[in-house]
Structures are given as structure tokens and as C-alpha cells.
């Protein structure tokens, strides 16, 4: 024991006054699978935290060596003469007859600036070995979402750095945009790239990013944390981790803990971006808990309040009015589908709650179109009002153009028999698909996206073989970044595509074409 602890103990002894503690208690009557039945606690509240008394009957020295810390439970069922609670920890530490103390408090999580760059569990406790939080504020895990009067409509864009999303499915700060798709279609990548892209925002406008990993493999979360650290994105991010090995109760609580931390920053007038990866696993954890709590099962064995589970969570994402500080929480929930079935129970629920969805398909992914966004069925219901004028100007007809290309794609195998107009449309579509491709972990600032889409929209890539478009685009981006910083800065600053900017861009594109004529072989 170090000397400072000894000194503190001496101080405690000097200031000691004998006292007694009164508590409202119950006793464990049954325990199993993460759920305990408790006799007594008749005055307890729903969602109240209870404390399992582990020191009873143990000698002082043994009670002091409780390395795993206190063990808490969360009351989820109030019954006639007993209660049922989910154990927020290791169930094997509980025995029948154990005394359970009421705390009189609903579950809360620490939140504060010092959590930035840290990895915490679903209870807000640090799990990255960097020590405890010293000055955190407690935020309730369950809180009523802001009301209509306190809200403001979405008007500020949240740039993902992904061309196909920022151009065709724009997201605004305060929006809830679902990322949906089968396994291994790049859902997490879209979310992580969005977090990384926030480093391109000025520090005072940069959203705080919260990544909530639910039921994920620890190795995947470790890889994501490392990627964020490498990309200097961890300094404005918080990772809430409830891995697959965590009890179902913690997997169920993790998204609420994440949003509670987000609300701390939103209440201070800051913008927050929160990723729930993924809510299908949270629904499965909640189904497990509900069945163990003997709640009646409904469709696919989910309990009756499964819709409310997600709606009350996602409703907490909003943009607050200026009177309330003007902060926002943008939510990007992720849902994993089975074999592209978006009409399953949980996907339809979350689709109906959110303000749009980004649909990723295995078909596109396997074709090499990455991010594999199916723009035909992806939609953003409120984001377009937050899109910058410059982006609107270059992305206006893009969705329609791509939809037409997809329709014509089937005729490609009869290419020789096509009329010139159709062949041109297919050629333009193919090049546009190539332009929209983007590497994993390489989000682009909005001004660069505008410049590239402007070039694509003005047939800049028309003379480039389809297979070379991505490489030429990368060279163009490098050229613009090096030689035409001013033009890019003007697009970023004004958010518009003025005549002067257009002239500068045209000049830059012409210069690039002349300097790299070998990249543009004539048809």
C-alpha cells in the first residue's frame, strides 16, 4: 500500500465519528443467466440500481480485497412481492440469500471532457488502463428526449467525407441516418470514415464523436480504436464498448450510456456524432433479457416493447434550439440484415424511426463498388436542407443519372447494337461509378468532393479509360490540393460555386489536362 493511502487512512481515522447506515434491502432468491429474483425491495423503483452486498460473513481483510469492485444490478421487473434485476457484472459473484441494497438512484454514467480519447464500458467506467475519471458529471442513462419546443430543424451539414453519401444522401447535424446492409458490406467502415473525416472540420465546429460497439468482437473494437488513434481522430472521440463477451444487460445498456455521454456535450451547446454498431445485436441482447425476465414473447420472440427500445434511444438525437444552447446529436445507427432482407422485424422498425437510410449491398461490394451504397434505395429525408449550395450544384442530377445508368446497365452486353445516345449515357454512368468509388479510411474534405464532382459533371473523365478513372481522379485531387488551394478554400469558406470559382476550376482542369495529356487518350 503506498504512503499516500496510509496518510489518507490516518486522516480518515482522525476525523472518524461512529455512525450507522440504514438501508432498504431485499434478498436474492434465485439467480441465473444474468438475471436475479429478489425478495423484498418493495419500495424500489423501475430502473433503480441495486447493490449486492458481497462482504457479508467475510473477514475485513477479505472484504477489502474485492478487486472486481462493487457489483450492481438494474431493476427491470417489479412484481407483486419480489423484483427481478439484471446483473451489471459477473453473475457468478452472486449467491442465493445475498443481501441486496436499494440505492434510490436510477442508472447514470459519468460524462465529461476528460473522457475524450478514452474507451469506457457500458457503465462509463474506463477500460483502457489509463486510470479513473477525476472530474466527471453523472448523466442519467434513461432520459426523456427533448420536446418539440426545444428543437430546431436540421440546417448544418455533417460531412461524412464519402462522395456518394455527401452528394446524394446528405446528412445534417441532428439527423438520424440508418446504415443498413448484410454482413461484410462496409457498414462500420462508413461510420468510422465519418468519424475520421471530422478532423477536417475547424476545431470549434468539430463534433464530438462517440462510437458505441455492441456485441462486437474485442479484436474488431481494438482495431477501430487503433485506427482512430492513428488517424488522430481518437482525441475528439469516445468509445463505449459492450463486447460480445459482456452480459446481455450491458449490451442492452451501452447505446443509452453512449447517448447520455453525448447529451452532456449537447447540453453544453456542442455537436455530437454517435454511432451505434449495431442495434440488431442490442435487440438480440434485449430479447435475451426479456425472455429471462419472463416477459411474453412476440414476433421473432422479441418482446412487445422492442420498437420503444429503439425509438426512445433514437429520439434523443436532435438539434436543440438556440435558447437551449444549439447543440446537436447526430445518430448513425447500424443494422445488419440477413440476405438483404430489409423487411425483417428490426430493420423495418429502425427504418421507420430514422430520417433515412444508407443501404449497402453485397452485390455492389463484390463488384468492387466501395462504398457499396445502393443509391437507388438509399434516402435522406431531411439532410438536403443542410447540404451546401456548392454540393447541391454539382450533385443535383447525380442520383437520377446513376438510376438511369443502372437501368441501362443490363443492355451493356449488347453494346455494339446501341445507339450513340444510350452508349454515351452508359459510358458516363460507368465513369461516374468509378469517380464515386473511395478507399477505406480515406474520407475527402467537402471542397475536394465538390471539385471532383464538378469535373465529373463536366465530362472531364470522358476521355479516360474506365479502368483508369480512379487513378486519374487521385492525381487530380493531388494536383488541386497542391496548386489550387485557394480555389478549394473559397469553396469551403463560401459553401457556394460562384462564377469566379467555376472559372478557376475550369482553368485548373484544363491545366491538368495539358500537363497530363497521356492520361487522356482520345477515343
Amino acid at each position: 500500500m503506498d504512503s499516500s493511502v496510509v496518510e489518507k487512512i490516518i486522516k480518515e481515522i482522525e476525523g472518524f465519528t461512529p455512525a450507522h447506515e440504514s438501508a432498504h434491502v431485499g434478498r436474492v432468491t434465485a439467480v441465473g443467466d444474468g438475471v436475479v429474483a429478489i425478495d423484498g425491495l418493495s419500495k424500489s423503483l423501475m430502473s433503480e440500481v441495486v447493490l449486492f452486498e458481497q462482504g457479508k460473513g467475510k473477514k475485513l481483510a477479505d472484504a477489502m480485497q474485492n478487486e472486481q469492485g462493487e457489483l450492481y444490478g438494474l431493476i427491470l421487473n417489479l412484481e407483486e412481492d419480489s423484483v427481478r434485476a439484471a446483473v451489471l457484472g459477473d453473475t457468478s459473484r452472486i449467491s442465493e440469500g445475498m443481501t441486496v441494497r436499494s440505492t434510490g438512484q436510477v442508472l447514470s454514467t459519468p460524462a465529461g471532457e476528460e473522457m475524450l480519447g478514452r474507451v469506457v464500458n457500458a457503465l462509463g467506467e474506463p477500460i483502457d488502463g489509463k486510470g479513473p475519471f477525476k472530474d466527471a458529471t453523472l448523466m442519467p442513462v434513461e432520459r426523456q428526449a427533448s420536446g418539440v419546443i426545444d428543437r430546431k430543424s436540421v440546417s448544418v451539414p455533417l460531412q461524412t467525407g464519402i462522395k456518394s453519401i455527401d452528394a446524394m444522401i446528405p446528412i445534417g447535424r441532428g439527423q438520424r441516418e440508418l446504415i443498413i446492409g448484410d454482413r461484410s458490406t462496409g457498414k462500420t467502415t462508413v461510420a468510422i470514415d465519418t468519424i475520421i473525416n471530422q478532423r477536417n472540420e475547424p476545431k470549434d465546429q468539430r463534433p464530438i464523436c462517440i462510437y458505441v460497439a455492441i456485441g462486437q468482437k474485442e479484436s474488431k473494437t481494438a482495431r477501430i480504436v487503433e485506427q482512430l488513434r492513428r488517424e488522430r481522430a481518437l482525441e475528439y472521440s469516445i468509445v463505449v464498448d459492450a463486447p460480445a463477451s459482456a452480459p446481455a444487460a450491458l449490451q442492452y445498456l451501452a447505446p443509452y450510456a453512449g447517448v447520455a455521454i453525448g447529451e452532456y456535450f449537447m447540453d453544453k451547446g456542442k455537436d455530437v456524432l454517435i454511432i451505434y454498431d449495431d442495434l440488431s445485436k442490442q435487440a438480440v441482447a434485449y430479447r435475451q433479457l426479456s425472455l429471462l425476465l419472463r416477459r411474453p414473447p412476440g414476433r421473432e420472440a422479441y418482446p412487445g416493447d422492442i420498437f420503444y427500445l429503439h425509438s426512445r434511444l433514437l429520439e434523443r438525437a436532435c438539434r436543440l434550439s438556440e435558447e437551449k444552447g444549439g447543440g446537436s446529436i447526430t445518430a448513425l445507427p447500424i443494422i445488419e440484415t440477413q440476405d438483404g432482407d430489409v423487411s425483417a422485424y428490426i430493420p423495418t422498425n429502425v427504418i421507420s424511426i430514422t430520417d433515412g437510410q444508407i443501404f449497402l449491398t453485397s452485390e455492389l461490394f463484390n463488384k468492387g463498388v466501395r462504398p457499396a451504397v445502393d443509391v437507388g434505395i438509399s434516402v435522406s429525408r431531411v439532410g438536403s436542407s443542410a447540404q451546401t449550395k456548392a454540393m447541391k450544384a454539382v450533385a443535383g442530377g447525380l442520383k437520377l443519372q446513376l438510376a438511369q445508368f443502372r437501368d441501362l446497365e443490363a443492355f451493356m452486353q449488347f453494346a455494339q447494337d446501341l445507339d450513340k445516345a444510350t452508349a454515351d449515357q452508359i459510358a458516363t454512368g460507368q465513369r461516374m461509378v468509378e469517380v464515386l468509388k473511395q478507399k477505406n479510411g480515406a474520407p475527402l474534405p467537402v471542397e475536394m468532393q465538390v471539385a471532383i464532382l464538378y469535373a465529373a459533371g463536366h465530362q472531364f473523365f470522358a476521355d479516360v479509360p474506365v479502368g483508369n478513372v480512379t487513378a486519374v481522379e487521385a492525381q487530380l485531387a493531388e494536383y488541386l490540393d497542391g496548386e489550387h488551394k485557394k480555389t478549394l478554400a473559397e469553396i469551403k469558406k463560401s459553401g457556394q460555386l460562384s462564377e469566379d470559382v467555376k472559372k478557376s476550376l475550369n482553368r485548373a482542369l484544363e491545366e491538368f489536362r495539358l500537363a497530363h495529356s497521356e492520361l487522356f487518350p482520345s477515343k
Binding site: 432468491t29 467475510k58 477525476k134
Partner: protein
Amino acid sequence: MAEHYARAIWELVLRGMTPKKAVQAVHERLIARGRAALMPHIAKALERLAARVSQKETIVLSIARKQDEHKTLAQAKSALAGLSASRDEIEVRIDETLIGGWRLEGGEHLVDASYKMQLLDMYTAATAR
């Protein structure tokens, strides 16, 4: 299932039926439904239920040493009054792990004035960074 039948018998007794009659009534119903094999399980569930109720009703005063009994009873007077329990209703138990002081448990109430609890609180306060 056995738990529910046991609770039913318990409720019948609480409503004034004699235990013998209550058990008989449930037994007859079980035979009629062809579920008489449940009877031993119901008996065990009833036993557990009775133990739980009795534990709930028992007021236990734990002390570290036998010689502290009188002194402790005087100290715990106000706590005992809160439980509206008389001296005769209290079961005194010796629990050496308490080190000193006392601990009173009855129904859903717990009053802990043991030295162990106070030392543990002190240790937690000193070691919390």
C-alpha cells in the same frame, strides 16, 4: 409450476382455510387433472416459501461478541423502535467478522453500525483516487 401451487396453498391459508384443508383441496384438483406427481415438488416449494416468510419476519441483531449484547441492545434502541419490535422478538447472533458494533436486519430494513462497515467505508474513501 410447483411454486405457483405452493403460493396458492399459502394464500388459501392466509384467507382462513386450515392448512390440511388447503393441501387437500389442491391435491384433489391435481388428481383430477392427472398431475398428482407434482405434489412432492409443491411440498418443497411450500417449505422454501415458509422459510422465506419466516426469514422476512425474523429480526436479527448481529454482534461481534456475546458480552456486548446488553450494551448493544441499548445502543440499537432507536433502530429497534423503527422496526416496531420488542426485545423478545429479536434473535441475537454472534458474527465475529463484524469486529465490533452491531448490525440489525429485519424485513426489508437493514441498519449497519458494525466496525467492519465503517472500516470498509474508510478504506474505500482512502483508496478511491
